[in-house]
């Protein structure tokens, strides 16, 4: 029941919001998002990680005669991602305070709709419900980008839309096929789909049909070209939603809807996927080094990071999987913070070109501290959240294959190169006539960054509680995926 209310609160609010006009919509959206966070925190307080079956489950017949149920529930992995979504959404809403968008009621309605859909994706226990929410999550972000985006928004969002729909259709085919394989009068419940045993040849194509959908969403090399442009052209709140949360849908999909369903397919293709991921890590990092556009640089860095997460998941080791799960949370926090910093700078300078920045730190000591901490989290410095994830991920990949681990490890060097280069280019050096009038961040802006920074350290110093939340669920998935 708690799960359903988590979906319904933002969904209903987003339906009502368009009827309200004026600045108040902002506040309402923020309050709703906070209420949602409160419900999620309450759920965590009631949650027992050791039970691997879905908790707070709901189950209503949808197309009962076909065995399709509107059902959902949370295990540890879902819980963590719901936590990520509910923490980030209020902050994303808050980040727009002090800045007004046209048709603001629609803007905030779409953000809340997105939240509902994302939580639906992370909690659904039925293949068709999953597909419904998966597609539903695409629509708000498409409109956010297409209406409030930059100059080239139409062409770029169109590309993004076609790309993801293309992948999703493969997934639909695979899901329908799996549904047809369930015994008796068929059922699309995840538990029944897990029981479907396919021969290895079939698993191989089902693997690719599902994987392409997830790979495009993540994105994994070479399915990534929609990503940098979309991140750059979207309005920053949409970019935050995309990079902070939506990107995790791909990884989550792999963990929940790929590994346990087609273990033989995974065993057959995991090396290929890891190699693609590692190519993505290196490729994305190297491109990021030369980027001049702040948001584009962050987009490529995000692409590189997600490659490591994918490699960790496909290493099929406990360390790699746990690392990927914790890194999903950590990366969400860092990347949202960094995109917001980019937005703060863009609001003041009206540009994202690093060449036109420099010396900003002299006017903005507070921003410098926040920016630095988020950047250090992103380059995986120990005692920040990024280190926990990357340490576990790399050791997982290393366990899978020493060479892959060593090559993937280059990310910590390249990450330092491009992040420090960006930081130095933006903050250090002499001021120019654009940057000398920059003002330090406002109170609301600090209110967005402060919780993020606290989380950066919290997760870095005491990752135990987060890992404990997901471990039983991850172990169960691993058992299904490896048969051990």
């Amino acid at each position: 029941m708690l799960t359903l209310s988590l979906i319904l609160i933002p969904a209903i609010a987003s339906l009502l919001l368009p009827f309200i006009k004026g600045e108040i919509t902002k506040t309402i959206a923020f309050v709703v998002a906070l209420a949602e966070l409160a419900v999620a925190l309450f759920a965590i307080s009631q949650f027992s990680p050791d039970i691997v079956t879905p908790q707070f489950a709901y189950d209503y017949p949808w197309i009962a005669s076909m065995g399709v149920h509107f059902s959902g529930g949370m295990d540890g992995i879902s819980m963590l991602l719901v936590l990520l979504t509910t923490i980030l959404t209020p902050l994303i809403v808050l980040s727009t305070f002090g800045y007004s968008y046209n048709h603001s009621s629609a803007f905030y309605a779409l953000i809340l709709l997105m939240e509902a859909a994302l939580i639906g994706v992370f909690t659904s226990q039925d293949a068709f419900v999953f597909y419904l929410f998966w597609e539903a999550a695409l629509i708000p972000v498409y409109f956010l980008a297409a209406i409030w985006g930059g100059e080239k928004r139409i062409a770029i969002t169109f590309k993004f839309f076609i790309y993801t729909i293309f992948g999703s259709l493969f997934m639909l085919v695979a899901l329908v096929y799996l549904y047809m394989q369930t015994p008796g009068s068929h059922s699309s419940a995840i538990a029944d789909i897990y029981k479907v045993a396919l021969d290895s040849h079939t698993q191989s194509w089902v693997f690719w049909a599902l994987f392409i959908a997830f790979a495009i969403k993540m994105p994994i090399f070479p399915f990534h070209t929609w990503q940098p442009d979309t991140y750059t052209e979207s309005p920053t709140p949409a970019t935050m939603l995309l990079s902070g949360i939506m990107l995790k849908m791909g990884i989550y999909g792999v963990i929940r809807w790929l590994l346990p369903i087609v273990p033989a397919g995974v065993a057959q293709w995991s090396t290929t996927v890891i190699i693609l991921s590692i190519i993505g890590i290196i490729y994305g990092s190297i491109i990021a080094i030369q980027q001049k556009d702040l948001k584009k640089l962050l987009a490529y860095s995000s692409f590189a990071h997600v490659g490591l997460m994918a490699a960790g998941v496909f290493s099929l080791t406990l360390k790699g999987m746990q690392g990927a799960v914790i890194q999903m949370l950590a990366h969400g926090i860092n990347v949202v913070g960094l995109f917001f910093v980019a937005e703060i700078i863009q609001r003041r300078l009206r540009t994202r070109d690093i060449d036109r920045m420099g010396g900003i730190t002299q006017n903005t000591p507070v921003l410098t501290v926040f920016f630095m901490i988020l950047m250090l989290g992103s380059v995986a410095l120990p005692l920040t959240n990024g280190f926990v994830g990357e340490f576990l991920l790399l050791s997982g990949v290393y366990e899978f294959n020493h060479w892959y681990g060593a090559i993937a490890g280059l990310t910590i060097i390249f990450g330092a190169v491009y992040m420090l280069k960006m930081f130095q280019g933006v903050m250090f050096g002499e001021q120019n006539h654009w940057t000398e009038k920059v003002t330090d961040i406002t109170l609301t802006e600090s209110a967005v960054l402060l919780p993020l920074v606290v989380l950066v350290f919290w997760m870095g110093v005491a990752p135990g509680s987060f890992l404990k939340l997901t471990e039983p669920a991850v172990i169960q998935i691993l058992q299904l995926a490896t048969g051990k």
């Binding site: 002299q362 120990p382 926990v388 130095q424 005491a462």
Partner: protein, 642 residues
């Protein structure tokens, strides 16, 4: 006081100082900031002494204090815990002791800087990280500190962040360290793979059960980390550039403490290294090569801090050479004495720079001995200590390393002595050019010449005393000493001795041989001293200004063998080019072409088929009828034409 509380407080105090100064650096006054900064480190120093006494009075039993369980995945645990034993205690005392003095010095040196509070915050953060590094009871906590000191080094080198080249130097340092860190990390992964734990106590006890090839891999990976942190070939070029930071930083981080982390790590892992002689051989060779290369570059440098930087690289090379021949305690001895005299030299250089209104070029100094009496005397003592012309601290430690090297290979010893000769030459060259001869600076600088305030000279004097008497902690038996340090550190090598007793068996030199070796090394050092004296005092030569033609060989050395340029050509340029290629070419012409190609294909097909949309209703109806007829025919084909 409870011993575990005091152990926990040792790193926590500087962290507290960092938090106070870091959060309030705009509001706290300079006086308060320096008091908070210095007092917290002093507190750690006092607690370290207390812990040291407790340790001695408790039969030298190692103490492990666990703060909390940091991470657990499956049955793999990493605990946030500290280990207090002989090695960490020595490092603790050096770090907090020298650290306190340098904090004190900084309160004078940085007094006019607007980022005063920030500076102390970073220094405290550095001490905290360094303490994590030396106190951690497992490799991951060591890695925390390892990366943490790298970060602080980055922050402090680029402290004057308006200057772009300082920022570049800082970034270079961080990235080079990161290259090493990747090696370290891979070493940790390999350890996890083979031992299933990262705790020292578990690994060292079971080291002998792992095959040599694996251990060689592990130690080699870890040594890559040490190359980065301790500036060994090929990752040494960041250290001279790191002199962009304020001078106390160079003294604390880039001379006395952080750069010796690599040596600490090797001594800590002595069991693994002892069981992997192939790695040790490489450690020794790389150490020797670094010592010689850096010393030769030092001969032609004209920046007072750069000379000291190359000297540091060179001395670190000696320490690794010592480690390579398994003279672990001798290397540790040199770490300690080096911390004293190199900190002294850097702080003295800082005092000179301070007096010369931020001039660093020794060609524009000269004759400073008259106006800077205290700096002059202390600097002289430091120079004597490092060059080992008289039996001050550096004499004993360097000699012990060279002696051990001689037993391993006389050739290495010979090259080591050559390095010592170069050291003596460039140190005295710098000393004479700075303090003797005629003043070559501007009139403005002459008028403003002044001895530094007491907060700066007091640390100089204390360090000078330590540089003089520091050798006595390991006074060799040959002079009737007890070799206290070597005995104190003996338990650290128990595991290694148990695992590989034969490695520790080597012949002892007779006293006459020892005296002969000492004589040779002192002789060449004095010879170099005389050459330097003749060149720069008697003949009063001054190195040529920039732009004047110099012999080709000298030019190559003066330009540091063009190593930076070679790296630029080998790594930085290709990666930039690759980045450009990927972004501008590959991304658009290969991947996007594929994606857009699919889009174009669909468009072409639709172009073909849209011709059917004639717009005439009749055509549509006709098509419909034809369609229906076809469907009917197909359905009833069998029925009609059977």
């Amino acid at each position: 006081m409870n011993i575990s509380t005091s152990v926990l407080l040792i790193p926590l105090l500087p962290l507290l100082g960092f938090i106070i100064n870091g959060l309030g650096f705009r509001k706290i006054s300079k006086g308060l900031a320096s008091i908070v900064g210095t007092a917290t480190v002093l507190g750690s120093f006092l607690l370290s002494i207390y812990t040291f006494n407790y340790f001695l009075s408790n039969n030298s039993q190692p103490i492990t204090v666990t703060a909390f369980n940091w991470l657990a995945v499956g049955d793999f645990h990493i605990s946030f815990s500290f280990l207090i034993d002989q090695l960490s205690l020595l490092m603790l005392l050096v770090v907090t002791g020298v650290g306190t003095l340098i904090h004190l010095y900084s309160s004078g040196y940085m007094h006019h800087d607007e980022g005063f509070g920030k500076f102390f915050a970073f220094l405290n953060l550095f001490i905290f990280s360094m303490l994590l590094l030396v106190m951690g009871s497992n490799y991951v906590i060591m890695f925390f500190g390892w990366e943490g000191v790298g970060l602080c080094s980055y922050l402090l080198i680029g402290f004057w962040n308006k200057n772009k080249s300082y920022g570049n130097a800082a970034r270079k340092a961080f990235v080079m360290n990161r290259i090493g860190d990747l090696g370290f990390l891979l070493g940790i992964f390999l350890i996890i793979a083979h031992f299933g734990s990262v705790e020292y106590s578990e690994i060292f006890g079971r080291a002998a059960s792992v095959d040599t090839a694996t251990l060689t891999m592990i130690t080699a990976f870890l040594f890559v980390g040490a190359m980065g942190k301790s500036a060994q070939i090929p990752l040494y070029t960041w250290l001279p550039d790191a002199m962009a930071g304020p001078t106390p930083v160079s003294a604390l981080i880039h001379a006395a403490t952080m750069v010796t982390a690599g040596i600490y790590m090797v001594i800590r892992s002595n069991v693994l290294y002892t069981l992997a002689p192939a790695t040790l051989e490489w450690v020794g060779i790389i150490g020797l090569a670094t010592a010689l290369l850096a010393a030769s570059i030092g001969i032609f440098q004209n920046d007072i801090k750069k000379v000291l930087a190359y000297s540091t690289v060179s001395q670190l090379g000696y320490m690794f050479m010592g480690l390579g021949v398994m003279a672990y305690s001798a290397s540790m001895f040199h770490v300690i004495t080096h911390a004293f005299f190199k900190a002294l030299l850097f702080l003295g250089a800082g005092s000179v720079i301070h007096a010369m209104s931020d001039e660093q070029d020794i060609r524009h100094m000269g004759g400073l001995s008259k106006s800077l009496r205290i700096t002059w005397i202390t600097f002289l003592l430091g120079t004597i200590a490092i060059t080992a012309v008289l039996p001050l601290s550096g004499f004993f430690s360097k000699d012990e390393i060279l002696m051990n090297v001689y037993m391993h290979s006389p050739l290495m010893w010979g090259l080591g002595v050559l390095g010592a000769a170069m050291t003596s030459f460039y140190m005295f060259r710098m000393f004479f050019l700075t303090f003797h001869g005629t003043f070559r600076g501007t009139d403005y600088q002459r008028e403003h010449l002044h001895e530094s305030p007491i907060s700066m000279t007091l640390p100089l004097m204390i360090l000078a005393v330590l540089s003089v008497i520091g050798g006595f902690i390991n006074f060799p038996e040959i002079f009737g000493g007890q070799a206290w340090l070597a005995n104190f550190m003996e338990p650290l090598f128990a595991n290694a001795k148990q695992a590989s007793p034969e490695a520790f068996h080597h012949a002892h030199l007779s006293h006459s041989e020892e005296f002969m070796l000492m004589g040779v090394s002192v002789g060449v050092a004095i010879l170099s001293l005389i050459i330097a004296y003749v060149m720069y005092v008697s003949r009063n030569t001054v190195p040529a200004e920039e732009g004047t033609p110099i012999p080709a060989v000298q030019k190559v050395v003066y330009n540091k063998y063009y190593v930076d340029e070679i790296y630029d050509m080998l790594f930085i340029k290709p990666i930039s080019a690759l980045s450009y290629f990927f972004y501008q070419v590959f991304e658009f012409f290969v991947i996007d072409l594929l994606v857009n190609g699919i889009g174009k294909l669909v468009k072409q097909l639709s172009n073909l088929t849209r011709r059917f949309q004639t717009g005439t209703t009749g055509f549509y109806v006709f098509a419909m009828v034809i369609g229906i007829v076809v469907i009917l025919l197909v359905n009833f084909w069998g029925f009609l034409f059977r």
